[in-house]
């Protein structure tokens, strides 16, 4: 579905994305992991036709990203790292704007309901909490029913409830048959959501496999972790105490 071939981005003689290749299969959730500055966001932005590709090529659904950026934009949805929207504009109006940007008209209320924001229809974005804003941003990114959905560190800065809720949303989106490409630096998130993971460091992909295989390969090398027999961790305690219900 998404194909990167020798993809390269150069800033002042340094390859921030260095000759990477991967192939995202239709309907899977593909994770890109890596420390800050590894080149995750730059990779996404090249695939999204937001940044010129300096070397190699990328295709989505067979369309060359560099050659036909508008055809690409029509079939992808983009969730940026910190979504923000113009102020003093109602959520329904913002969804109308995004639909109009694709030349469509939509039932804004229905799209809000799909991210549990139907009762916020008349609110402005500045009145939403961080988690609500993330959810709204997802609704905006999916307003044109894209084939591929890109999320850039969607859960950074969210509380545990909002994070879990977002995972649920991503699973729902996957069920609808949408291919998902997600970057994160939360391992738990990657393990729970992703079918396959590319680990990036210094612009290169240093591992690419399913979470299970990656762990298995590490164990094969003789890796041993200090044994813990606890059946729960602090997050389990937190969720047990505060419940799973969303707080916004």
């Amino acid at each position: 579905m998404v194909q990167a071939k020798n993809l390269t981005k150069t800033y002042s003689d340094r390859n921030v994305v260095d000759n990477i290749s991967f192939d995202v299969k239709p309907g899977e959730v593909f994770g890109i992991l890596g420390p800050n500055g590894a080149g995750k966001t730059t990779t996404l932005e090249m695939l999204e036709a937001l940044r010129p590709i300096d070397g190699g090529s990328a295709t989505i659904a067979g369309i060359d990203v560099a050659k036909d950026p508008y055809a690409i934009r029509a079939i992808i949805g983009v969730q940026p790292q910190s979504p923000s929207f113009q102020d003093k504009t109602k959520l329904t109006e913002l969804l109308q704007l995004f639909a109009a940007a694709y030349g469509l008209t939509v039932d804004a209320k229905q799209h809000l309901a799909s991210v549990q924001l139907e009762d916020k229809a008349g609110s402005y974005v500045e009145q939403l909490s961080g988690g609500q804003r993330q959810r709204f941003s997802i609704a905006a990114a999916l307003v044109h029913e894209p084939k591929v959905f890109f999320l850039d560190e969607p859960t950074t800065g969210l509380d545990p409830q909002a994070r879990r809720n977002l995972w649920e949303l991503v699973r729902d989106i996957k069920k609808r048959g949408v291919t998902v490409v997600i970057t994160t630096h939360y391992m738990e998130e990657a393990e729970l959501l992703c079918d396959r993971i590319a680990v990036m460091d210094a612009g290169k992909i240093i591992a690419l496999d399913s979470p299970k295989n990656l762990v298995r390969n590490l164990l094969k090398k003789g890796f041993k972790k200090e044994q813990h027999v606890e059946q729960a961790n602090l997050e389990d305690v937190f969720i047990d105490l505060t419940g799973k219900a969303l707080r916004d």
Binding site: L50, A74, P80, L97
Partner: protein, 368 residues
């Protein structure tokens, strides 16, 4: 078709947003009115403490020289020495630059008809709008002549002053100023809004988000221009309402012609704001450039200061500014009642600027 519907949706929501934004509302409606009240207060009255007149003197004798010296003594009458011909004087009077024309015929002050003393008649020419000034001027002259008459002879007055009201509709100072204020309002509305809003939207990643969609730059531009034209017309309409109510504006042109000038002017000035705001990555880049472009137009295009007061070379330079034909057109419609055909040159020049400015705006636009 779909693309145009999208443009309308963007424009409509942008207009709604403007009305929810107190800062925007202030700059659209209150800011121009502040200037209107300040300048209306200064130029509202037609009667200054002194009178600017043109002197058309055909007499050349010692009496006339002495008479003119006395007439200017108490600063009530200021003679504009640049005006030499009657047509020039009438033109300037029409524009409100002078209050009256004083005509002294060649025979003025000559000793004729076997009389022992000089005689003659001074003519004070004014137009309808400064009839009051004319009446005052005439009494000033009467007083001077009475003095002279008394000195020369105790006989019935050989000198008289005659008041003539010309048929040309005059222009009062406020009407002239108002047209300039309209230009200033269109300038500030078109430039200060987008040069602060677009860089801010870029820094927050709002424009970048639209860039991930299939929205085209021209659609985004068109929507913003439509919204701006709507708001601009409302702003100008409010200025007209206030000027007509509080300052006895004498609007000579028709409002449909005015609408065309305002729409074209607003679109052109907004293009300047769009070019600067669309190019700048942040407000630090936008603000100095916006000021650099705005200030010359604000002071040289005839908004606050009439261009005819400038030296010739400066008039030539200021004629090249994009706001100048807009202000000229506004002024011709308000003060002279010219129609669309008559302001064709100004509209044509503005249209050329419109094209040039938008070509630049398209070239330099950045989504982030």
């Amino acid at each position: 078709m779909k693309q145009f519907r999208s443009i309308l949706i963007f424009a409509l929501i942008d207009i709604k947003r403007s009305f929810r934004d107190k800062t925007a509302l202030f700059f659209i409606f209150v800011f121009p009115l502040i200037f209107l009240f300040v300048f209306g207060g200064i130029f509202g009255g037609n009667n200054g403490p002194s009178f600017n007149v043109a002197l058309l003197n055909q007499a050349d004798n010692s009496f006339t020289k002495e008479f003119l010296k006395n007439a200017q003594k108490d600063d009530l009458i200021k003679i504009n020495k640049d005006i030499k011909t009657e047509s020039d004087a009438r033109e300037k009077m029409k524009r409100g630059e002078i209050d009256a024309i004083i005509k002294l015929p060649g025979s003025f002050g000559e000793v004729t008809g076997g009389q022992p003393y000089p005689s003659g008649q001074a003519e004070v020419v004014v137009d309808q709008n400064s009839a009051q000034a004319g009446a005052t001027l005439k009494s000033i002259f009467d007083a001077i002549f009475n003095q002279v008459n008394k000195e020369i002879t105790k006989a019935p007055t050989p000198f008289t002053a005659k008041l003539t009201v010309s048929k040309e509709q005059g222009l009062n100072q406020f009407d002239y100023t108002f047209a300039g204020l309209l230009g200033f309002s269109i300038l500030s509305l078109g430039i200060f809004g987008p040069t602060s809003v677009f860089p801010r939207m870029k820094q927050q990643g709002i424009l970048r988000r639209y860039h991930t969609t299939t929205l085209r730059v021209w659609q985004f531009f068109t929507a913003n221009v439509l919204s701006q034209m709507f708001v601009g017309v409302l702003s100008v309409a409010l200025m007209f309402a206030v000027a007509l109510t509080f300052f006895d504006l004498n609007m000579r042109g028709d409002y449909l012609t005015m609408l065309v000038v305002v729409l074209l002017g607003t679109a052109t000035m907004f293009g300047v704001g769009l070019a600067v705001g669309g190019w700048a990555k942040n407000e630090n880049q936008a603000a100095p450039l916006a000021n650099l472009i705005t200030f010359p137009m604000m002071f040289l295009s005839g908004t606050f200061f009439p261009r005819f007061l400038m030296p010739d070379w400066l008039q030539t330079i200021s004629g090249l500014l994009p706001l100048t034909p807009i202000v000229d057109a506004l002024r011709f419609v308000v003060t002279e009642g010219r129609n669309l055909f008559e302001i064709g040159p100004e509209l044509g020049l503005t249209a050329i600027w419109l094209v040039v400015i938008y070509v630049i705006a398209f070239r330099v636009f950045r989504w982030d």
